[in-house]
Symmetry: C3
Subunit: 245 residues, 3 copies
């Protein structure tokens, strides 16, 4: 089984973006141009050329989909997807008043244009907290049933809401409920902090799909996967350990 690391671009300057992809392309599976940043990125076409050259897929944050949808301008969104060659479409309802069945309907419709990444969870911490473990599992199954290729679990950039607790660690109750009904390889976990990256690698294993990884953390995440950092070293190496004292 192979895994995906999704890097978020929150508006990197073009030179830095190129440098990151050139140096770290082995550790990036997918790039998301975060929320609506694509619309204020001067060199978007150059960034996309860099990704195409490296063979890395990309898409726009779900918030951009919502921004077009709430204004009744979805045609413009599809034109953007088409013109840029985005490889995926993210469908979410993190911000706008669109309920879960309504979102699943959009997942189904968008699969006509691109493989869909559906997101579950809300940007607002209090609203996300109203979702029970069963709600999470149900929403994920509904989105997969509607044709989503992967379902993304929301945690925001702070890593302290959605699938995460206010203390920054994973909501085990949600994770258990979800994994009881969904294969981990159909999930892409937003894990913007080391706490969440470590929790997920320990809970699910080296091949867990991780998203919202900052460019600055790509190498660090790869070392966590391989047991090359203190947090996961013993877990990954002890089976092979020999006497050393």
């Amino acid at each position: 089984m192979s895994h995906t690391t999704m890097m978020i671009d929150p508006g990197l300057p073009t030179g830095q973006f190129t440098d990151v992809i050139s140096s770290h392309r082995d550790h990036v599976g997918l790039v998301k141009f975060g929320w609506g940043t694509a619309l204020v990125t001067r060199d978007l076409d150059r960034k996309i050329a860099v990704l195409r050259e490296a063979g890395i897929g990309f898409y726009f944050g779900g918030t951009l989909f919502e921004w077009y949808l709430v204004q009744g301008r979805l045609d413009d969104y599809l034109t953007l997807v088409d013109r840029t060659g985005a490889t995926h479409i993210e469908v979410s309802n993190g911000t706008i008043p669109l309920d879960q069945p309504g979102k699943a309907g959009w997942v189904r419709r968008m699969t006509r244009y691109r493989p869909v990444l559906a997101e579950v969870g809300y940007k607002d911490a209090e609203r996300s907290a109203t979702l029970s473990p069963a709600d999470w599992a149900g929403a994920i199954l509904e989105d997969l049933d509607a044709g989503a290729e992967l379902v993304i679990t929301e945690t925001r950039e702070s890593g302290r809401s959605g699938m995460a607790r206010p203390d920054g660690h994973l909501r085990d109750d949600v994770l258990d409920a979800v994994l009881a009904r969904v294969d981990a390889d159909r999930l892409l976990f937003e894990a913007p902090t080391k706490e969440l990256q470590v929790d997920l690698i320990r809970a699910i294993g080296v091949d867990v799909n991780l998203g919202n990884i900052a460019a600055a953390d790509l190498v660090a995440v790869e070392t966590l996967r391989r047991g090359l950092r203190g947090d996961t070293l013993l877990q990954m190496t002890l089976p092979r350990t020999v006497s050393f004292a």
Copy 2:
């Protein structure tokens, strides 16, 4: 009304600085070389050439003014301003024992050399907390009366003191007292965190002047201004919203 976004340079390497200005110059109105970093920047002249080429004004952090003043070396400071072509002078009393009327006197004197940005608030959180809302408004009016082009409100890099509460959000009581007596376009709010950027855009609007914005956050701030991020999306787009469910 047009707005200013002031980027702080805390000591970026020269290549990155050039890359940021090249990619994001549409989103930067003014650059501050933070505190005394200018004196330990090997390529200061190259950075300045990049700004001049892009038509972006710049100045040195108020702490550098205070550093020269407290040593009785203000002539050396003015020589630096002159040699580098800094477009503004920041006058502050965030660190040294200089009282408000004394600072206003320096504002008045410095206007002979450059347009002055005057800062209100102290670096020390406890000292800043002694300022009442009326003190903030009074100090701002005194600095404007002394000839300041803009008055900057201090929050430090943590965004948790000065105009900000320890929880990271804006001090509404101070803001209300200030806006009752001062036009928002005479103010430049230090807003180093997303919490403060969102609070200020919601309270004052898309054209609020924001300062101490990190290079890495320039695009993000622009998306907040335009309603392209979850935090401000509904506020900016709902008036135009049509049915979408």
Copy 3:
């Protein structure tokens, strides 16, 4: 007395690494390729060439030593050190179950190959908290006696464990116990946060050896050393102060 600032590379892309060293080489004494990042760095040889050209020493994080040691592959580690020309070896027991006398034994053995930087303290906050001030001082003396050139005090990247308290400030009790028995110039303090950098410069002085400094903070640390930032301005300049009001 001259001081060392050790920069940690957590996996910078090659262009940025080159840019940082080019711009800030006056402010870097030593570079650590953090934990096991060296093994997932595509352009390690180019980074090393940049350091060699700038005359800056480098080594691999102690976790990489532990990773090889726990697998019984220390020969491979020494081959890596030899092939890359690393100038130092860090010996630590921050993660693996190796006790202090055992670690001191490895310090002694590794001095045959390179000058050794020995680390005291554990990655796990609770385990580090079990060390008394006398334990810290004793371990440091034992490592120096085993031949370490410098002893590094652990604080992790959060700056909230090891030599640091959970509130992010320095453990004065540990510092006092250590400085009563060890010269400060035999110590390299991990100080990844501004709080710790300020505390250490105030406690020990401008020439304190600081480690785990991020590339983005090199200039800021230098300004703290020189009194060019609010936090240390009055301490460094007041002796020379003249009247200025």
